[in-house]
């Protein structure tokens, strides 16, 4: 089965969702991410959804659930790059994703998490928020 790649950037994990995700792929991502958070001690997870043309309640629930599990593992989740049309549609759908932080892009997402990826990637340049 296909997997969505997870990159380590300093103390954060970055996931770029590039395909129109089918359900099994979404479920595999949730499992893979939580395993990687535990293995790496990452402090934050950035999920870049700028390629996603829609977010429905299934994907929304997955993002919310990743955020909830990550929080228990002491990592913050930030969803970045949501398209404006997707944001408008989510509001009308009624999906609020209360546990999910959002940022416009990866850079601002990293700032929100409070980790920096500059330098050798081993040092927290930012302060934890």
């Amino acid at each position: 089965m296909d997997r969505i790649p997870i990159l380590k950037m300093g103390h954060a994990l970055l996931v770029t969702i590039q395909v129109d995700m089918h359900d099994q792929l979404a479920m595999a991502l949730e499992e893979d991410l939580t395993a990687r958070i535990a293995a790496t001690g990452a402090r934050g997870v950035l999920i870049d959804i700028s390629s996603l043309e829609i977010v429905d309640s299934f994907i929304g629930r997955m993002l919310d659930s990743i955020a909830a599990v990550s929080r228990l593992l002491d990592a913050r989740t930030v969803v970045v790059g949501m398209r404006p049309a997707v944001a408008i549609t989510l509001v009308e759908l009624g999906l609020s994703m209360p546990g999910v932080n959002t940022a416009l892009n990866v850079e601002r997402g990293l700032a929100l998490i409070g980790v920096s990826v500059s330098g050798d990637g081993e040092h927290d340049a930012g302060t934890e928020v």
């Binding site: 089918h22 099994q24 977010v55 299934f58 049309a85 549609t89 999906l95």
Partner: protein
Amino acid sequence: MPAPRSEVLEIRASDDIVRVRQRVRTASVEVGLGLVDQTKIVTAASELARNTLDYGGGGTAAIEIIDDGGRRGVRIVFEDDGPGIPDISVAMRDGYTTGGGLGLGLSGARRLSNEFDIRSSPGAGTRVMIARWK
């Protein structure tokens, strides 16, 4: 490739939901829906296709380009021969779910569409129609 006036897609597995989304997108572009309207109808279709699969045990989505003489639009009819819905007004409520979901699919799909019609009774399957006009 332009979408045909009408096509019927099978919904048997989660890959089929992706295909429904793609074909609804193509039809929406063809009738000239704007990006936000495209996103709304594709999202509504995704919700209903998943219900057809998860609760209806699979079924079909009929995607049609409609024309009322001046305006064009997209209509999708989802049909299954599953267990049906005992009380539609309860199922339509925000937050009502029997499957551990968010209970937003039906009510959300109605909000995201210009037209919405649902017919269902226990043992007789479920039919949901949505449409979005340009």
